[in-house]
Subunit: 468 residues, 3 copies
């Protein structure tokens, strides 16, 4: 049996469905541009086999394991590594069986769509995963993983990925990217400059990170000018490994535009370690503006991912560390927050700043009006919890009428789950085709234009926004 | 003529409608679980007849009379009793006629659906209520009310209610529940522990309430430990009348987790009467955490109804008192607010905390991510203004993709309008069937699973969440 | 070819579409009531020809030019006049060609719908505007503009406008309205009292404005009583030019209700010039309550347009001044903000206060519950960015279930783009017909009632709310 419906996500009205299907068919074979995500470059540098289904689908994917946790499964029983040295399940088959037994929790979620798509289209599975089929499917996937056709590079080619951007911290030596480059393999994998650990004073080991930043760049990071120069040096270094963008994960969208003297004084306070949360917020905000100004010089597209309240559960953070499904969105203001940055560089036509939000209320009220006015601003696609059929629908419905399609930046999969990449782009292309067919059938868009827009949403806009 | 459309609330596409209808048919005859509401237990204890149509449908229902007030009818003219002793209309037929003459105000509202459903299915009315038909319909209902088949217990049975929970304050002697128990009648009516009046320092007569709490429990409520012991005693007492849950109506979702010493000191400040609004907020927040910890011990499910700005109009409050349709929702933060409580007990798999909101923006941004991670959290159904077709649709669309169905708690009617109970559960079952059929017809849910989910939403989830 | 689809905005299901079409047909020929907008009364006083297509469609319309700006076109290149004396494009054909070349930016926006409607129905254009057709269409429009049939008064008649309200500042001498009155032309054009410039202490030239207000009224505006008397005088003066309403554009919905002494003291602080932003906010809030009280006396309907963060870009404001597409909505609280005003006059059945919002999250959470309770409150139609198909849909879906249709105030076009008036009312009538047909086909509204409601939404409610 088929795990996925060939008409999934399309409107049900026959005429609308036909048009959605035609739009989708016109873009479904386009190569995948993945200009923002969290795949591990090491996979492609070493090209070793993925070890087992649990390590591929469950253990590293907080979308998956936190859902089981929400219904009482302990995180440790799902094999998620601990930072406190406590014991965790090590038998991948047991982990897999726990996951399979809880499949009903995912009903109606994008995770279910992605998993079914991967099972069917990547691994050729034709049974529904549940307690009864868990072992058989485990064995089928395991057998495939043992073959060369399922090594990372082979999958990369098979997924028709034209470009994949990974995300590395400012201090990363990019050794895996170097190895990929030296390997002679032609897959296009580029890095992205993500300097949070040397920009956010509240980051673990911030002070040590700044020292290290000085060491690897030869700049004097005890001074404001030296610190900025070190960033410039690292950005240039990242560009040599294909980076076309930076990325900034901040708790809020606050920006600042202090003059050089005040910024230097703030930096001194930060370095002293004797700073308040207000100082930290101001400094992060100042650095967004500094990064934007550097982007004006070096052409890197700037991404701002704002609004996640990270590590909400103290216990989970203490035991398991970051990125364990306990990052919760909060209200995020953009209008006042971005004003300093926008007053500095917002009217620059050659700058591209892509905004992402976890607060959907900002789409229509703040983000679309801002992106529909400032030349430097683009809207990123629905992020994280909102990378889903309903999320994409709400995004388009809330933003298109105010800023159109051409102030948006195409699709990002933003994933660390490699096998879900085709599934995620597929959901995006289908959801956009559904939306466009609705516009056409209600007289809000001409059919010929819809085909052009579908192509732009699936491919062209990402290419432009990220200078690919 | 029929007052209600047999296909109401189903999708219009024929295939989708057929599936929605099939899903609905599979659950429409399930017994009603009503684990949270505000019916008066005295009705069932005394089993006396309801006096007249106005007293049944208009006077006690703020959904109804505030709509007339919004268009200029005075509250007094609708017979709503005053707390200031002023005169009000006493002729039920006049009240009924005012109501009937304003029927157009309810067009497109769930109130209209509920009323039509009650008129047609409970009272056998077959004419549309308006000025011309007001008297006839009044007489028809009045005639029915005079019969034994329309006494509260008979209606309870006819409504196929398996369990009805009422809500009583911590100081209530539960005499009506005792009378029901002693009556030999088999209808299952349970109480719910709602301690707002002894938890909220800003409640009317708070200080007197605390004294009374001490008297009826024999605990020394002038001390923090005695006060907590008194709560434990009352919870145990409520359990003897079937309580499986507590309920907490707070202006915000703020929680606190002070240590014993600090909590005791705060209690002393509160008891002194010399406290600030910040003290009051902190105390309410501390008590939510205390209640959650007691729930860990005694197994009562905990409900939090946060975010209503009660008694918005000073004049209406002064003249008519509480619950008169002038409670207005406000923005409510959950992420920071719940962190102290969740750090204390959020990872407990055996605890159930059900969150309700009047701020729909929190569904996708805060509540679904929280409920999709913390084992202790469940999401309650759309509450109050959002207990409606569009409200349920928005709730499902905003939460399912992130926390699925199994972190939600089934339906609550939450009503004091007894005759609307079947109508409200019907709207809920229809709305969910409509949603599920949409998921199936767009390839997001398997048809067999949809039937299982429909049953869980209509019955199973409430049973589990409330330990029924 | 037709530029617009005769079935645009209707549902796609054939039965639903037929009903939507029937509802629309029943109201499409109703005269236009335009009780709030920003057309220039001078057009109708002088009745001179519009000069060229660019000056009609591009240069004065910030909906249009800010979209081009967002994609890198400079504002000056679109002929928008500067306040700093810098050079701007003066060739209307070049402006038109830039606009035409960027037509794809408007795909999916209401602007595209309005433009196509104007081109087709007002100017008889039958080609799609793009780079290739720009010149031909320019010439076609230009030729029409040269004829008498395209003078303002002729278009006013042809548009079937029953009444058009313009908006003038408190200091305006209303000379164009006087000229219209004296001209003998029968077109009904009335003014609206908009006193922001003499109410908002942060307005440019506020102090000078207050002096001027004293001069033209003969009141002593250096005293609080004199200042209030001056307002009363101007309101009376505006009424002689047909005003039935006032309008208030405030950054927030904050209100205050100080006693006379405190209000006088606050006014003194404001007049001294030595005030804080808190003083300014309080004063604006006090004036909303004063205006509401005056409305109780003189019967003027009161409009509150709250929540725009005006002139977000400092550069654009410095170079081009106000109303240039850089006004960005922000979060707006209504519940606490309006309480002082509502405690003062909210229960008055003879007062009409129409609330507008740019924060859609307030629809269901705050505005519908407020309007569904207080007799004095009505909800205005979706404003600005939300005057669109999706915006209207969200408004109806979020408000109807709580406050019904009869606490809303009909449609406003709120435009300065005269030729878009028929298009905007058409979108509104179609969108409401679509919504109503959905209610009927899902059993939430009776078909006969839907026709009555359609008429009220298109005509009756505005007539009542604005005392027309």
């Amino acid at each position: 049996m088929k795990l996925t419906d060939p008409n999934r996500l399309f409107p049900v009205d026959p005429q609308q469905r036909d048009l959605a299907c035609a739009l989708y068919s016109s873009v479904s074979d386009l190569p995948i541009l993945s200009p923002h995500g969290h795949c591990d470059p090491r996979w492609f540098a070493e090209n070793v086999r993925f070890s087992n289904p649990a390590d591929l689908f469950v253990v590293p994917d907080h979308y998956v394991f936190r859902m089981l946790v929400s219904q009482g499964v302990s995180i440790a029983d799902l094999g998620v590594p601990r930072v406190d040295g406590g014991p965790v399940e090590t038998d991948p088959r047991k982990i897999w069986n726990r996951f399979a037994g809880a499949a009903k929790l995912f009903r109606g979620t994008p995770t279910a769509l992605w998993l079914d798509h991967s099972f069917e289209h990547v691994f050729g599975i034709d049974q529904i995963l549940n307690e009864a089929t868990a072992d058989v499917i485990y064995d089928q996937i395991q057998a495939k993983l043992a073959t060369d056709a399922y090594r990372p590079r082979a999958l990369f080619d098979r997924f028709n990925i034209e470009l994949l951007a990974t995300t590395e911290g400012a201090l990363d030596d990019l050794r895996w990217h170097r190895d990929i480059k030296n390997s002679g393999w032609q897959g296009k994998i580029v890095t992205t400059y993500r300097p949070d650990a040397v920009v956010d004073p509240e980051f673990d080991e911030f002070k040590q990170n700044i020292i290290e930043l000085g060491e690897i760049t030869g700049e004097d990071t005890t001074t404001w000018q030296g610190y900025l120069a070190a960033h410039r040096a690292r950005r240039a270094f990242f560009k040599t490994f294909g980076a076309t963008a930076t990325d900034h994960g901040h708790p809020s969208a606050a920006t600042a535009n202090l003059d050089d003297e005040d910024a230097g004084a703030l930096y001194a306070i930060i370095l002293s370690g004797d700073f308040t949360t207000q100082h930290a917020e101001k400094f992060r905000g100042q650095m967004l503006t500094e990064m934007a100004k550097m982007s004006l010089d070096d052409g890197l597209t700037m991404q701002i991912h704002a609004g996640s309240r990270r590590n909400h559960s103290s216990d989970v953070f203490t035991q398991f560390g970051r990125d364990k499904g306990f990052d919760i969105p909060g209200r995020t203001d953009y209008v006042a927050a971005l004003k300093p940055l926008l007053d500095a560089v917002g009217m620059e036509p050659d700058l591209t700043i892509i905004l992402f939000t976890l607060d959907e209320t900002a789409y229509a009220r703040e983000l679309a009006p801002l992106a529909g006015a400032y030349p430097a601003l683009n809207l990123g696609p629905p992020w994280w919890f909102f990378d889903s059929f309903e999320g994409i629908k709400r995004f388009r419905e809330a933003t298109t009428e105010t800023c159109g399609f051409y102030n948006t930046a195409g699709f990002n999969d933003d994933t660390r789950a490699f096998c879900s990449i085709p599934a995620r782009h597929d959901v995006s292309r289908r959801s956009d085709s559904a939306y466009l067919s609705t516009l056409v059938s209600t007289g809000r868009l001409r059919e010929a234009d819809a085909f052009e827009v579908a192509h732009d949403l699936a491919y062209g806009l990402a290419k432009t926004a990220y200078n690919l």
